[in-house]
Symmetry: C2
Subunit: 111 residues, 2 copies
């Protein structure tokens, strides 16, 4: 029953290739901000901002050790998103065949 804002944030965070790449990197284990940023052409600051978006969506968690910030991937929002999308597909009928859909639409038009 999470507020829709949560889903908004999760999907928005996932809708960017840089952020997906960051998550993929973190899925292999913790990493520091600098290490996460290293493969990208953009500035460290830009990556830092992407990380913030991921944190806001709770897809990334931060653990500070001295001057290092260790980032880790959190799967919960992904699970929630997967749940929503599956629920949705079930109810919105990606399983509807063409005939069924046609009938419903004719019905809707004959009002």
């Amino acid at each position: 029953m999470s507020a829709p804002r949560t889903l908004d944030r999760t999907l928005l965070a996932l809708a960017d290739p840089t952020r997906r790449a960051i998550l993929q990197r973190l899925s292999a284990g913790e990493a520091r901000v600098t290490d996460v940023a290293e493969p990208f052409k953009m500035s460290l600051n830009a990556v830092s901002k992407h990380i913030l978006v991921l944190e806001r969506a709770k897809l990334v968690q931060r653990r500070k050790v001295g001057r290092d910030h260790f980032l880790s991937y959190r799967a919960e929002p992904m699970d929630a998103a997967a749940h929503w999308i599956e629920q949705t597909r079930h109810f919105w009928g990606s399983r509807l065949d063409a005939l069924e859909r046609l009938l419903r639409e004719e019905d809707a038009n004959n009002k």
Copy 2:
């Protein structure tokens, strides 16, 4: 396989409650732009723009009959998104238990 841009567009389109509501409406069958817009407080123009975003993501299809534009829901991009997210969860291990993850992270830190 589909360009990442496609996934970007799908997830971005879904990351908005108005657009999800529009899709939900269309999942019950075709509807005209005006009818789709009716329940919303925002202007018709604003809804028209949201529809454009959904069309760009191929989540909505348009069929013109005279002055009416009939919109319908297309499930394919949802299927693709669901597939991506499931794939991802599988490989990124939402199934990883805490111990496994810890081991991988210690390993990563001991380099």
